[in-house]
Structures are given as C-alpha cells and as structure tokens.
C-alpha cells in the first residue's frame, strides 16, 4: 500500500463535515434565507469536485485499495483512521457525491433550512466515511452516524406520520447494528488470539481463520445489520414508511445512498471476512434476493401511492444486487456493484419527480393524479425515461447491471436466475400501471393546470438523465474499474473455499474467436480487415 501526498479521501469525508459545522454556526437571522442552502451546495460541490479528482486519479487496472490514508487513532484499542478506495467503492462515492447536491437543490426545506442543510451535510460525511473506511470500528462509527441526521430529517421535515416513521427506522436499523458491533469485536478478538495483535483493520482481519460455525455466526451478525439497512426481504418493512414519510431529500438519500450501505457492507465485509460462510449460506441469501425481487414487485403492484410503490420496487431492485453478489461470479458481482450505482441514480430521479408532482398537486396518491402528460409533457418525458431505466430497457443504465447479475447468476444457480426473470416482467407491470394512472387519461380541472418542469428543475435532474443514458450506452469506463476489484474478491472467496467459477465467466477466448471468423468471412478487396474496421468505425460512435 502506498500513500498519496494529498489525503484526498480524508478530505472527502471532512469537506461535508466542515460544511455542516459552518452551516450550523452561521446564525439564521444575520443572512438571507437562501444563504445556508448556498453554503450547502458549495460544500457538496467541493466534495463532488474532489470525488471526481479521485476518480480521475484512480488507476484502472488495479483491483486493490488506492489512495489509502492510515493513521493510528486509538493505539491501545488498535483502531485506525484507515481509508481506501477500490473499484467497488469508487462509484458509490461518486454517486453519493452527485446525489447530495441534487438532493439539496431538488427539494428545498420549508422551514429552518439551516438545520436541514447541516443535517444533510453531516449525513454526506457519514455516508462517504462508511464507503471509504477500511477499519471496522471506523466503519461502524460512520455507519451508525448516518442514523442521527436521517432520524432528524425524517422526523423534522417529513410528512404526516413522520414521527412514527423516524422512530421505526431508527430503532429497527439500530437493532441490526447491535449485532454488527458484537460481530466486529468478536472478529478482532479472534484475530488477536491467533496473531497477538489487536486490530480492526480490514486488510489484516481478512486473514483471520474462522471455524465453520464461527464464520456462519459472525456472517449472520454482520448480515443482520446490512440486511436491515439495505433492506433485504424480510427486513424491509421500515422502508415503505420511512421513504413515504420522509421529505423528498430524505427519500432520495435513504433509497439512493443509504440503501447501498447495506449492500456495500455485504460485499465489502461479509465476502472479505467470511468467504467460507458466504459460500455456504449463498443459497439462503440468493433465495432471499429472489423473494425480494418477486415479493417486492408483487406488493408494488398493489400500491396506490407512488412513494410506497417506488419503495417496494426498490426492494425488488435491491434483490437483484443481493442475487448478483451471492452468485459469486465475476459477472454477477460486477453487475451487483454496477446495479448499486444504477439503482441510486434511477431511484433518486424517481423520488425527485414524485416530489415535484407532490409539490404541484399536494399529493402523490395515484387517485389524485390524472393525465399530467397533457400539461407537463417534459416531466412526463423524463418520468418515462427514468421508468424505462428502472424496468431495465436496454440502452439505459438499468439493463446492463440487471443483465450482468442475471447472466452471472445463471451460470452457477440457473433456477434462481430463471425465477428472478419473472421480476423483470413484473417491473413493467407496476411501473406502466402507475404511469398510466398518473400521466395518461383525461385530466380533470385540477390536474389540467399542473405546471411543467421549470428550467431550474430541468437542470437539477439533467445530470441524472445524462448518466442514465450514458451508462446504458457506454458502461465500459465503469466496468473496467469495477471488474479488477471484483476479480480480486472472487479470487479471495475461491481461494478460501477451494471452488472455481465456471470457465465462461473468466476466459476471454470468445472475442478472439470472433475476430478470426470475421477476417475469414470478409473478402479482402472490399471488406476492411477487422483491425482497420475498428479504427474507422470508432468515428461513427453515437454522439
């Protein structure tokens, strides 16, 4: 491991935290009402700039942790301020950095913007800290720290049943975290008993030898926390309440960013620390993933409330991530990681749009909405695009991830993938139904006058739209950075469990074979040889 001269990652965590402190310290009476929001946007913009710099400096072929910073924090306890980034966390960091400014700009707090923005910035620091931590205690602190701002955001700025939703969210996730804490301490002490060194650093703890039972129990303890946070079926019932009652900003951040803490935790900690147990218990998790996909979709079909519908659709999409993860193949896991990014972008856009609908019509109940496409065609167009991305129409981002997850699962657990395919059909069912109810049909007087998206709103959602299209057409830059880290992880699991993923998942013989057959099929005088065809045609790429 090498340390970069400038501590980019530390800066990533501190920038929003400092922003939060500054916003909190500037008294509300002395400055205009927009001042705190502007400060918040500035802090998130700086964070985004640093995140982009990190992405640019990121070495593509390297699957290990990069740009690490490591400082002793509590020496006697073996706790380190240890941060690092790899292909799995890179895009989650970028996604969070993109979503936070959008969440601040997309839905503005009705009252007390100072506290609101401050909480949001603190949440960003906690989320980025969680994605970057390589020390288990540090991770746990950040992981828990996310709860506090979220609790206040839901409870303070939410809708009618906000108090109930906030407490349910807090208690439920907190209960899960208790298992995580026990698990973390146990791993560290087992490691100490084997090596004599007390440390909470992930790279060291990876080498801990665990007996079968120990592995399984610790895996379950860790997974309890992550499964609640994601949420994974059947630990999801806090989420419809929390998503629906939270203000738009809260819904975006809960579903877009914080849900990924759960799935990220599974990939980062479960697979790294407990490869044996992950492999043994994979069928159970795969089954929970598939149930989540099908059950989430079926329940979504019965929702009459856009926010709850999206909440259940989110359960289904997270099921895909779990499925890909526990397929433990290169395609499945890469697809799962990519799908985390895709899901974040798509669900953020959906909640943003629903928030704007609610702002105009005072409701997101399907029965109150009708024929909005007539007066708000741009909103309808963007909603359509996002909906198709969520359904998984190819050419948009959702498809690539879903396809990788399913093909990566199919080659090892065929019937789980086939069962999950039904979810692909159901996704179309409930989303198109919702679209028809809300945007199609003849609007009544109230709906007829719904305002279309203004320029500022279009600008806010534009980055999401662009990313949704871009990642659908050209996901290569992302996949090239995810795959080496995923390969490392899969290799780690395989090494411990003495298993091997199928040959088709790894070998590249396919593309070589096609190259030669093209050459044979193309006649010399007219058909350009493959090599030249590749260079000439690169000009003709899509704009």
């Amino acid at each position: 491991m090498h340390t970069t001269p400038f501590p980019f990652l530390t800066f990533l965590v501190l920038a929003p935290a400092v922003g939060a402190a500054v916003v909190a310290l500037v008294p509300a009476r002395r400055v205009p009402s927009w001042f705190h929001e502007a400060l918040g946007v500035l802090a998130t913009a700086v964070t985004l700039a640093v995140a982009v710099t990190v992405a640019v400096r990121f070495k593509t072929g390297d699957g290990g942790y990069q740009m690490t910073s490591n400082h002793v924090w509590a020496k006697s306890l073996g706790i380190h301020w240890s941060l690092g980034i790899d292909g799995i966390s890179l895009f989650l960091v970028l996604m969070a950095a993109v979503l936070f400014p959008i969440a601040i700009l997309g839905a503005r707090a009705k009252r007390n913007p100072r506290a609101f923005v401050s909480w949001v910035l603190l949440l960003e620091a906690a989320c980025l800290g969680s994605f970057l931590s390589l020390d288990l205690v540090l991770f746990f602190l950040f992981f828990e720290l996310t709860l506090v701002p979220t609790y206040f955001i839901i409870g303070g700025w939410g809708y009618a049943r906000r108090g109930f939703a906030a407490i349910k969210f807090f208690v439920y996730t907190f209960a899960g975290s208790a298992f995580l804490l026990v698990g973390i301490v146990s791993v560290a002490f087992i490691h100490r008993s084997q090596t004599g060194v007390l440390t909470f650093e992930l790279p060291a703890l990876v080498h801990t030898h665990l007996s079968g039972t120990e592995g399984v129990l610790l895996f379950l303890a860790f997974t309890a926390a992550f499964a609640v946070k994601a949420p994974v079926f059947p630990f999801h019932t806090w989420s419809p309440d929390a998503y629906a009652e939270a203000p738009t900003t809260g819904s975006i951040l809960l579903a877009g960013v914080m849900a990924k803490l759960g799935t990220y935790g599974i990939i980062r900690f479960d697979l790294n620390l407990f490869p044996e147990a992950s492999h043994t218990l994979a069928p159970i998790l795969l089954t929970l993933g598939v149930i989540g996909i099908l059950y989430g979709a079926v329940v979504a079909c019965a929702q009459r409330d856009l926010k709850r519908l999206v909440a259940y659709s989110s359960l289904a999409h997270l099921g895909f991530i779990v499925l890909g993860t526990f397929a433990l193949t290169t395609q499945g896991l890469s697809g799962g990681v990519l799908q985390m990014l895709n899901h974040g972008l798509v669900i953020a856009a959906l909640f943003l749009l629903i928030g704007w609908i609610a702002e105009r019509r005072g409701s997101w109940k399907v029965s109150h909405l009708r024929g909005l496409q007539l007066s708000a065609p741009v909103m309808a167009g963007i909603f359509t695009l996002v909906m198709l991305a969520s359904i998984g129409v190819p050419g948009l981002n959702g498809f690539v991830g879903e396809f990788l997850v399913l093909s990566g699962t199919f080659i090892v657990h065929r019937w789980w993938a086939i069962a999950a395919l039904a979810g692909v059909i159901l996704a179309a069912l409930y989303l198109l139904w919702a679209y028809q109810q809300v945007f199609h049909g003849t609007p009544d007087e109230e709906n007829r006058t719904t305002r279309d998206l203004g320029w500022s709103e279009r600008l806010v959602i534009a980055p999401l739209v662009i990313l949704i299209v871009f990642l659908g057409i050209y996901p290569k830059p992302v996949l090239d950075r995810i795959t080496p880290s995923v390969d490392r992880l899969v290799a780690h699991v395989e090494q411990v469990t003495h298993t091997q993923q199928p040959g088709v998942a790894t070998t590249r013989y396919a593309s070589v074979a096609t190259g030669t057959s093209h050459a044979a099929a193309t006649a010399p005088p007219h058909g350009a040889p493959p090599a030249t065809a590749r260079t000439t045609s690169s000009v003709g790429g899509r704009p």
């Binding site: 190819p394 396809f403 199919f410 998942a505 396919a510 057959s517 006649a523 493959p530 045609s537 003709g540």
Partner: protein, 666 residues
C-alpha cells in the same frame, strides 16, 4: 462503402435528437419533413452499403463493423457492432424504404394533431431501434433493438394518451412483449453459459459443443420472445389492441416492420434451428396454428383495423411456419411482400378512416369506391395480393410457404390451406363491406349511434367509437370530436396518396422477387448463402408445383367469390359472425380469469395481509413485546430499600441452595 453502415442507424437517431431538441419549434409540417428526410437519407445510405455488399465476392457476403466495447466483464465481452450480410441488408432496405413512405404518409395523416412533432420523434426512434435490431452482430445488440421497438410501440399505441383505451392498449403491448423478452433473456443466459459469447458467428462456429438439448432449449426460449414480438400463439392478443394507435403506426410497426422482427430473429439463428428438428417442428406448429386462428378471428371483426390486425397475426403465422419448415427464403419473401400489401391495406384503411372522419366500423361504411377512387383501386390491389390470387405478390410468397410445408409437414400444409381460404374470405369481406353496397355512412347521426352500439360491440368500442371517447381533447389526427356529418367522404391529400400508389405497384409486382421456373438468379436468391445447408429444399417436380399453385388459386378464388356474394349486398349476417370469433376465441377473458384476477388478488393479499399483518406485524410484535416487558419489569423498580433488600436475600438463598445441591451431587 461498407464502412458507412453505422450511418444507416445514426441518421434516424440524429433525426430523433433533432426532434427532441427543436421538434416543437419546427412545428407542422417542418418536423415531419425533417423526420422523413432523415429516414430517406438512411434509405439512400442503405443503397450505397448494398452496392458495397454486392461488390464483396465471398461464399457468404458479410461485413462486421465494430463500434465500441459495450459490456466487457471477465469472460463476457459484448461489442456494440453491426453486421451487414444479405439477410440483414434485405431487412434494412425494406425497413428504411417502407419507413420513408410511411413517414411521408404520416405528414398528411397527422395533420393538425396537437403532438404532431412528437409523433415523428417516436417514429424516428422506432426506425433507429428497428435498424439496430436488424444490424446487431450479437444477440445482445439485437435485444437492444428488440426492446427499443417494443418501447416505441408502447409510446405510439398510447399516442392519444387521453383516451383510456389507447393508454391501456399501449401498456398491454409492452407487457406481452415483456413476457416474450424474458424468454429472449433466458435464451441469452443459456447461450452465454454454453458458448461463452453472444456473437452470432461464434455461436454458430461452436454449435457442435452446445449439445442438442441445449440447442432445442435456446430455440424454444427464443420462440417465446418471437411469440411476443411477432404476435404468435399464445401471446398474440396485444396486436389487436395495438390498433388504438394512429393508422400509420399500425401500418409501419404493427404490420410491416416490428412484428416481423421475430421472423427475422428466427432466420438469423437458422443454424441453431437446423440443428434441432424438434424445435423446428414446434416453430412450424406454432406458426401454422396461429395462421389459422388469426384468420378465423379476422372473419368476424367489424372494426376495419382489427380485421387487418388479425390478418397480420395470421400472415406472421405463415412466416413462422415457413421458418419452421426451413424455407427461410420463403419466409423473407412473404415478409417483404406482406409489408407491401399489408402496409398498403393499412394506409388504405387509414385513408378511409380519414375520409369518414374517424369511422372504423365496417358496418358504417359502404360504396366508398364511388367517392375514393385512388383508395379503392389501391386497396383492391392489396386485397387481391393478400387473398393470394395470381399474379399478385401474395400468391407467389404464400405459395412458396405452402409448397415447402407440403413436402415437409403435410399436416401443417392442410392447416395452411384452410387458413388461406379464410384469408381470402375475410379480406374480400372487408373490401366488399367498405367499398360496395349502400352508402351506410349516410344513415347515422353520430353521438346517439355511438352510445347505443357501444353496448353491443364492447371490445371494439374503444377504437370504433374513438371519436365519442375523445371528448375533443386529443382527436384522431386533430379532426376528431365533431359530430359525424353525413357529407360525402373525401380523398386524402397527395402525401397520403403517393405511398398508396407506390405500395400498390409493389404489391402488384412484388412477386418478381422470387419467381419459380426462372433459371437466372432471382432477387431473393442472393440471401440463400446466409442459410447454407439449413435451407430446406423440397425438390418438387414442376407438375407438383403447378398442382399446388392451382390448388392455392382455386381455394382463394372460391373464398373470395363467396365473400363478395355474401357481403357486397348485406352488412349484417350474425350467423357468420359468431361471438366466439368476434371475441377472439375468448383468449383475453381466459388470461383475465387465469392470470389477471388471481394475480390482482395475490398482490392485494401480499400487500394487505402478508406485508402489513405478517411481516410488519412480527416487527411491531417484537417491539410491543419489548414494551410490555419493560412495563412489567418497571413495577419491580419501586424505589423502596426494603424491596431491594428482599431481592438480595432471595438471591443469596437461591445461590446458596444452588451451591449446596452442587456439593450434594458431587
């Protein structure tokens, strides 16, 4: 010249982007003109690429253009790449050609529509997707186009979205297609699992290592996709509802191009089908049965577009039958010929609907040959071509299909010839009702008639009485909503007539693409190398071919005569329009009963009982239990020292007792 291939796709895509950015500012008719120009330019580029392909001298002319690496993950490596070979080239030429004509026609048809520019935006996107589908050099790129055309079809069917029936029809089309697409996806997974690649060339090169059971599975899974896209049994009901879309859409998407994508896909994977006789037979059976079922339903419809929709289902069945027989060339021939005459019939129907102010009910037409001469003669050509009466295109095309079936699956030939009888019957019925008989359209005063008859013709009411349902908000091409005044119908503007005439000429002479008994290579023969040994050759004697041809003609002529005698004089013959056929064999009711209603109940049950009562109930139950425990235990915290002292004493006693028993036992 071949390196221009990407432009074939890029041009309509550019048209789409232009419409997206400035479509509304361009307005009418400029937006339509721009869209037409982009698709026309794509057609011109296709011709150039075609010339380039003809210059390639190889056993199998083929050129692959790699654009960029799309999904590279480990062993899975999918390129965004296009392949031009005789098969895809034929499709490209006919897709861009027909699309250009229909774009032109739409400028007239969509005149005055509020969303005129948006219509062309969708059309351009559709053409882009269709070309991606056709040109894709691997299954995944084909799938991009495959889903893309499905999405565009959804947009365009639901184009008049204020009409509830149109919105529902769009959704229905998407969902039926999605069911098929799940099959397509599964086929891709299995292919990747067994081959490690999705490239057509690689798959075909490794066909020996896939294993016959897997090949059959792949073919059958793809057949599920084909059944969705090409409206075959059992996934065909969406196509009839799709007629809610504007008529040019029905012509372009739901007759000429998109619905033939399934047939194209089956032709594309011909080496796989060739390797599995059971899959081929299944394909042939599905096709033949669909041909018959579709044709029977078409006989009892009263909405002009629904007749044509079921006719399309039936004709697609013939194409699928041809593929299953191994007669790929015949399938492509019928596909192209069908695009001509069915496109023509739809545009003719559109002209009639346009002329009668959005009347789609055949029973309220009649004697239109007097008022719409161009439409009548062109539709007449289409009718004869579809009825398969020589020397029109349909005769040669369908004849090839049936000839091949005769030699390979005689039983399916019999099904096909029965379907051919119904085909000639229903299309002659349509023409007789619309263009002969009395001026029935004079008799009606619109609103009252709509309200009374909508009860009797519920399933067609959405389309047939569209005007009544419009409420003046959307309007079929902008002239809906007014009460239907019985003034003589008018002929359409030139933009609508030119495509009619061009297509009529094609429908007349389309047969020259592949004539029998011609020793020089016919136009369609050049695609044969693509199929190689997979192409079925019946080796039929001239006498047999004559015999089969005469049989086809006689059957068609009898059916046409019967239909003309029955329907040119009377418009109501309930005995010949059984409800069973009118309601398409009750297949919609069946799906509703078996899937729709139980599904809704399941979802309700899952949401209201499982989720809220069981799962969330357990969560809340645990929370409640904790609270109860807390309340119970709270009583112990009395604050009196004497109570605590009692507790301490009890504890000590228990502890001592425990230790004593341990000692005792020890």
């Amino acid at each position: 010249m071949l390196h221009l291939t990407y432009l074939i796709v890029l041009l309509p895509l550019a048209g789409f982007v232009v419409q997206l950015l400035v479509g509304r500012r361009l307005g009418e008719p400029a937006a339509g003109g721009v869209a037409t120009a982009f698709v026309g330019a794509s057609f011109v580029v296709s011709l150039i690429v075609f010339a380039g392909l003809l210059g390639v001298h190889a056993p199998v002319r083929s050129f692959t253009q790699h654009l960029w690496s799309w999904v590279p993950v480990g062993g899975l490596h999918v390129e965004a790449a296009f392949t031009v070979d005789p098969l895809s080239m034929t499709m490209v030429l006919f897709v861009t050609g027909v699309s250009t004509l229909i774009h032109l026609y739409s400028i007239g048809y969509m005149h005055g529509d509020r969303d005129f520019p948006k219509f062309f935006l969708y059309l351009n996107l559709f053409v882009t997707s269709m070309l991606i589908l056709v040109l894709g050099s691997n299954l995944l790129v084909t799938f991009v186009g495959w889903e893309g055309v499905g999405a565009c079809s959804y947009f365009l069917i639901a184009f008049w979205f204020t009409r509830e029936s149109a919105a529902s029809a769009g959704k229905k089309a998407f969902i039926y297609n999605r069911v098929g697409d799940a099959g397509f996806l599964a086929a891709m997974f299995l292919t990747f699992d067994k081959v490690g690649s999705l490239d057509y060339t690689t798959i075909f090169a490794r066909i020996g290592s896939i294993g016959s059971a897997n090949i059959t599975a792949i073919c059958l899974l793809l057949l599920v996709g084909v059944a969705g896209k090409s409206a075959q049994l059992p996934l065909f009901p969406w196509l009839a509802d799709a007629m809610e879309g504007p008529t040019p859409v029905s012509a372009l998407i739901h007759a000429a191009t998109m619905v033939t994508a399934g047939v194209y896909l089956l032709c594309r994977i011909n080496p796989l089908l060739h390797a599995s006789s059971s899959a081929s037979l299944t394909v042939a059976i599905v096709g033949a049965v669909t041909a018959l079922v579709g044709a029977t339903i078409a006989c009892a419809q009263r909405d002009i577009k629904k007749v044509l929709a079921y006719s399309t289902i039936s004709q697609l069945g013939y194409m699928v039958l041809a593929v299953g027989t191994g007669a790929y060339e015949a399938a492509i021939f019928l596909m192209v010929a069908h695009a001509f005459y069915k496109g023509l019939l739809f545009l003719g129907a559109g002209s009639v609907i346009h002329g009668l102010h959005d009347e789609q009910d055949l029973k309220r037409m009649g004697n239109l040959r007097r008022y719409m001469k161009v439409t009548f003669w062109t539709v007449a050509v289409g009718t004869v071509a579809l009825a398969a009466i020589p020397p029109f295109a349909g005769f040669w095309a369908k004849g090839d299909v049936l000839d091949a079936a005769w030699s390979r699956y005689p039983a399916l030939w019999a099904v096909g010839i029965v379907a051919a009888f119904f085909t000639a019957y229903y299309i002659t019925r349509l023409t007789s009702l619309a263009f002969f008989g009395d001026d029935r359209w004079r008799e009606l005063v619109r609103p009252a008639a709509a309200s009374t008859s909508s009860t009797t013709t519920t399933s067609t009411s959405g389309a047939a009485h569209g005007t009544a349902g419009n409420g003046g908000t959307s309007g079929d091409a902008g002239h809906g909503g007014e009460a239907h005044a019985p003034e003589p119908p008018h002929e359409a503007p030139w933009t609508m007539q030119v495509p009619l005439v061009v297509l009529a000429v094609c429908a007349f002479f389309g047969g020259v693409l592949s004539l029998p008994f011609v020793t020089s290579p016919t136009l369609l023969k050049w695609i044969d190398p693509v199929f190689g040994s997979a192409l079925y050759n019946a080796h039929q004697s001239a006498a047999l071919q004559w015999g089969l041809g005469i049989t086809d003609s006689v059957v068609a002529l009898i059916a046409a005569t019967v239909a003309y005698r029955l329907w040119s004089t009377r418009s109501e013959r309930p005995a010949l329009e059984p409800v069973f056929l009118f309601r398409s064999w009750y297949i919609n009711e069946l799906y509703d009963l078996v899937i729709g209603r139980p599904g809704t109940r399941l979802a309700e049950f899952a949401a209201t009982v499982v989720d809220t009562k069981v799962i969330d109930g357990a969560v809340n139950g645990i929370a409640g239990l904790v609270r109860l425990t807390g309340q119970g235990v709270r009583r112990l915290q009395t604050g009196y020292v004497r109570n605590y002292a009692l507790g301490v004493v009890l504890g000590v006693v228990l502890l001592l007792g425990f230790m004593l028993t341990r000692l005792w036992w020890a």
